[in-house]
Amino acid sequence: MSAPFTVIHAGHAATGEPAPRTPTQVPHRGGTANPSAARLQAQFPQFYERHEVIWGDTTVYVRPEAILDVVRWLHDDAGEQYDYLVDVTAVEYRDVEHPLEVVWHLRSLPFRRFLRLKAQLPKGTPLRVPSVWPVYRGADWLERECFDMFGISFEGHPDLRRILMWEQYREGYPLRKDFPLRGRFSRAEQLRQALSQNPEAKYSMEELTIADAFEDLPQDMRQRLAGGERTGE
């Protein structure tokens, strides 16, 4: 915690704009696009595919290989300042010809803007996109979940493992359309494999024991423990 905490007032960069209010009568398709979309097109013409406005939200399709550069520019540029990564997820459509889509939801607090980025990954090719972890540390678990559920590899992710299913899970990627609802194995085999997993595979007892982590505890908790409250050793 070396970096100082800075307060961001929502909308402080969007001076001159009217105060925000809940939009009414938003059309399903069409309407005013997020101004970031046009700037993005000017900045990355070779990677920009198209944009569409659905229910007032702008979705920009970009080439998957450029996603890290696009996100980094959106984060760093003074006129964009997308400082909050809301979500990373993926969509697979029932149409087998339709490519799989990876979705990034970005929020610019200073400009009060919301932008949805999509990258299309054709089926039959390796599902790979660059990780946005170098820009947003919060992408760590979001991308792990996306990998766990869809099998998409985020290149550059520091620790790409399963997060919801256990690490030895061998039935595949549950949110893919070709995954049967009840899994691939029999119930007995699923239970046998689940029971033979080791819950402490990642965290050793040393990590879990309060006494060993004494130096890392907050100051008030250390005082309380030093004053006679035992840790169980």
Binding site: P180, L181, G183, R187, L195, S196, M205
Partner: protein
Amino acid sequence: MGLAPRPDARVASRAAGDATNDLVSYDPASQEGWITTRLDMLVNWGRANSLWPMPFGTACCAIEFMASAAARFDLARFGMERMSFSPRQADVLICAGRVPFKLAPVIRRIYQQMPQPKWVISMGACASSGGMFDNYAVVQGIDTIIPVDVYVPGCPPRPEGLMYGIMMLQEKVKRERMSDTSLRDELDPDPASNLYIPPAVIDELSEPFGNSVHQTRSGL
């Protein structure tokens, strides 16, 4: 269980020719009180009225369970107000909610850490059968992992339903007999398989929890 008159009181009443007071005398002088009962009945009476639950709440059933423990429904009437958040001091494992496969080894280990005598209530449709979650991630009934004494139906059950299940469990406890040697049998997994947890490891897992360290099941 009952109150028996002093033997000499019976003799005295018979000598007086009082046929209506032949067996039981309610004379205060004779009520010095000694009780005859079967020992297992006395033990069961104590156990049934001081069951300490280990709440294993994973879903909305746990909300109903909390409502059962709160003032309106008041589990304290059944001697169950003391929630045991360590399995070492628990008598009843109340599994309230769905159990995903990832949690299966955890609930099994919690059950193994509980000292005998112990009982299990499976609360709600999901814990009992998987409920509506007939999918890849959810255990289809916790009785595939641990033995269950009482199943409470409902989605989720109302507190009255849980209390009915608790009273059924009390009935079951009261009918236990010490002569039944199979009562506390536990099936341990084959030590060669990786389902088996050695007793030392079961003991070790409770280390951070206060004085639980000294209440190990294996006696190590």
